[in-house]
Amino acid sequence: MIEETKVLTSRIHKKDSHTLESYREDGGYEAAAMALAMDPDEVTAIVKDSGLRGRGGAGFPTGLKWTFLPKDRDFTYLCVNADESEPGTFKDRVILDLDPHLMIEGTVISCHALKSEHAFIYIRGEFCRPYRRLVAAVQEAYEAGILGDNVLGTGRKLDITIHKGAGAYICGEETALLNSIEGLRGQPRIKPPFPTNHGLFGRSTVINNVETLANVPVILKEGAEVYRSRGTEKSPGTRLFSVSGHVERPGVYELEHGVSFKDMLNDICGGVKGGRALKAVVPGGSSVPVLTAEESMKLQMDFESCQECGTMLGSAGVIVMDETTDMVWALDKLTHFYAHESCGQCTPCREGTGWVAELVHLINQGRAKSADFDKLIDLGTQICGNTICVFSDAVFMPVMSYTTKFRSEFESKLIDSAPVHEKVGA
């Protein structure tokens, strides 16, 4: 019987956990004070040693990303990506809503490490209460001298600007996020140049996820050694898993990396809803390849195990689907979402996602022929790879995995599909 390892979420069930007073009671901003007394490069080294990997989806080592900043830069921005929009992922919301100061402390420490005096928090437009609480928390931090011209009495400067998005999924892509903050149309930029060299307003910029930054005070407080003691070697630390779908107790759970999916499902989430059989699992947010029940039973929830299984841990948004789920219907919903959210910049993605969505919808309605199904598979490969950002891959992966692993379900909905039962006497 496994249990939650509450490191980041240790405070979220307390009353008024979102206030500075409550945060301070639990030793808040001590890590920041400690970090500010250190050399910035020392802080970076600790984060690098901890092996912290980005929690936004790609899992890129955070400390390594920080060292990509050019040495001779004159100005640095930190952007906090709080535009959590991946279907099935809702863990940043919990931090923003229930413990915003944890993330702000992480921002203070990170800005010190990056020698940045200005951080931007790009928060998803639909987050209403988290937004209000974040604004209040930043206000509190300014009033308490944690932000402003004299950060924690050290004489250093740090300003935080909160920017509310307007509801576009693509603005969670880091360069689209930069464009959106700059007041431009929210669409990804061509890389290179990478944001570390030419980012927000043309300045060196680091973009980190909310959960990633929430890990930073913990690392500073505990030290890299203790932090590494949790999780696996290549995926250290704990992870906030957003579990949704057909489970008895959906929600956000903090577990160590490397926990088996089976244990998580049965011990933490209370098993599949109504005791029904498991059919499919999406382990890392809607855009990663789906797993069958059989595959998922062998799955461990860390970056490298997921990759071995042919999927990705992504943003750790676990979507559980039981035997009653119509996989064609599920893909229909998903492709509809992606077709709506393509920024429309690159030709293959703009035209392809809409086309894919239309074909899946046609199949789901039972109006498609086998030629349409073949076309769908064909389109999947056509869209992938030739675009500015990885959005098209995010469409390609579910389309290919759903149609391959649950092919019979798709075929049975085709008008000219082979009859399911053989004729008597044939």
Binding site: A168, I170, R185, I190, A339, H340, E341, S342, C343, G344, Q345, C346, T347, P348, R350, E351, G352, T353, G354, W355, E358, K375, Q382, G385, N386, T387, I388
Partner: protein, 502 residues
């Protein structure tokens, strides 16, 4: 210089070039829609994807900067397949209404489909996304959203070339559309360039829409006579009528662009022309007209000849020689009363005459107003609408015999005693010298209508009647002498090949 290998051939190219431009200079054409050499790169159409050795994914040639030792393949199966895929996607929601589309015949989609697509359609018309077919973006430009492939050339033109930022994209995914902000229009004075750079039929010129099929038109190189900038243009004509003017690449003068004012200023060449010489007794043949003019020239001291900075260098040079050789004693002056405009910092310049500098360098004095107020009783006005530009001159000209050598029925022509038709710049081989001293040659595009003759032919005939020789067998001889005599005019400006994408 960087050494790159394109399709197995090693070539040296300039550092810092985008791969697509480097390849073009090496003679390898990479298909593209969103890339335009006069605009910042965007990399969104994905048509120019090529294989670069060492990089697993295809790279867009328009965003990749050449590096020494780069090995590029532009014709592999993977690249060709990708182009075909992109073509299929571009045509996915395109209405394919070529029969009623003005772009047909010079359309990037048609050209590249024949070259890189040729796939069978896998969609039916009813599945296509419907958008607005006729959006009035501004006074001169009409948008068909369904045809648009969202390459954003027009958006970037307004943002980065003109700086007015009128055009934006609204909506996402396959519902994305070009639009202006609510209540605003595409009103910048260079708006029609967006029609040129649009690789498909999405943006059309309100004046040219449904006027002429492009494959009927012939084109000639010319110079815009709208101001002293001397933008290089194409004259597109059909059945001896000018259908449209388009900018022609010249990095030293106008780059890829021209202003709307100059572009739309050609209807006077097609319409309202003087076709026959006209005197007090009615219409005349050219020889009758010349004799009528001659009759007025008996006392050269009483004659004032008014030249125009709208005339070509060749006309002005011939006119000057005519006065020197055949009519010594007559006064020659030049100038224009055309209202001046503003220097807008881009292309348009204040002086609305194309050849003021040429006239000065040929040596025709600009003391027009003084001379008109002088005592001369006979005024020969060449291609100059004195009364149209300055109606108050009517009293000055009232007591004088006025001969108007003109292409159109101008106010001056209406008030003249004798009207002789001459050609416009579109019917002449000639040259203008722009504000910077650059002498730019152009070719005749259409045939002169009616009895219109060039100024050279007119003065040649007049001097013949006077028993004098101008000294040139042909206009070529004239040009040769002129360019020999005037400093700096012998330099020939090489014509750049036009980079017209799509």
């Amino acid at each position: 210089m960087a050494k790159i290998t394109i399709n197995g051939v090693e070539q040296a190219v300039e550092d810092g070039l985008y791969l697509i431009e480097a390849a073009r200079r090496c003679g390898v054409d990479i298909p593209h829609y969103c890339y335009h050499p006069g605009l910042p790169v965007e990399g969104n159409c994905r048509m120019c994807s090529v294989e670069v050795e060492g990089i697993p994914k295809l790279q867009t040639a328009c965003t990749t900067i050449v590096q020494d030792g780069m090995v590029v393949i532009t014709d592999s199966e993977k690249v060709v397949g990708e182009r075909s895929d992109v073509m299929e996607f571009l045509l996915r929601n395109h209405p394919i209404d070529c029969p009623i589309c003005d772009q047909a015949g010079e359309c990037g989609l048609q050209d590249y489909y024949m070259e890189h697509g040729l796939h069978d359609s896998r969609i039916t018309v009813s599945e296509k996304v419907k958008k607005k077919k006729r959006v009035d973006l501004g006074p001169n430009v009409v948008l068909d959203s369904e045809r648009c492939i969202l390459c954003t050339r027009c958006v970037r033109f307004c943002k980065d070339v003109v700086g007015t930022e009128e055009l934006v994209i609204k909506n996402r995914s396959n519902h994305a559309e070009i639009t202006t902000f609510p209540g605003k229009g595409l009103v910048n004075p260079y708006a029609l360039n967006t029609v040129d750079i649009c690789p498909v039929g999405a943006l059309t010129s309100r004046k040219f829409r449904f006027q002429c099929r492009v494959w009927y038109m012939k084109n000639a190189t010319s110079i815009c006579p709208g101001c002293e900038r001397g933008c290089n243009i194409w004259i597109d004509h059909h059945e001896n009528k000018i259908q449209r003017l388009r900018p022609r690449l010249n990095p030293d003068v106008n780059n890829y662009w021209m202003c709307d004012e100059g572009r739309l200023d050609f209807h006077w060449i097609n319409d309202d022309r003087v076709l026959r010489a006209e005197g007090p007794d009615g219409l005349m043949r050219p020889d009758e007209a010349d004799r009528a003019v001659l009759a007025l020239l008996s006392n050269p001291g009483d004659v004032l000849i008014v030249a125009s900075p709208r005339s070509t260098n060749e006309s002005l040079f011939a006119l000057k020689r005519f006065v020197e050789v055949a009519l010594p004693g007559a006064a020659l002056t030049g100038g224009s009363f055309r209202p001046t405009g503003d220097d807008d910092g881009f292309l348009r310049l204040p002086d609305k005459n194309p050849n003021s500098r040429g006239m000065r360098e040929i040596g025709i004095a600009g003391d027009l107003e003084n001379r008109l107020n002088g005592s001369a009783g006979v005024v020969l006005v060449f291609e100059n609408d004195l009364l149209g530009d300055r109606p108050d001159l009517e009293s000055v000209l009232a007591g004088k015999k006025v001969v108007a050598f003109t292409s159109n029925r101008t106010a001056t022509a209406r008030g003249a005693d004798l009207v002789v038709p001459v050609t416009t710049y579109a019917e002449l081989n000639g040259s203008f010298t722009n504000h910077a001293g650059l002498r730019q040659e152009f070719r005749s595009a259409i045939r002169p209508p009616g009895d219109s003759r060039s100024v050279f032919d007119v003065v040649k005939s007049l001097s013949g009647l006077l028993g004098k020789e101008l000294g040139w067998e042909s206009e070529t001889a004239l040009t040769k002498e002129m360019t020999d005599v005037i400093t700096g005019w012998g330099v020939r400006v090489e014509e750049e090949t036009e980079l017209h994408a799509g």
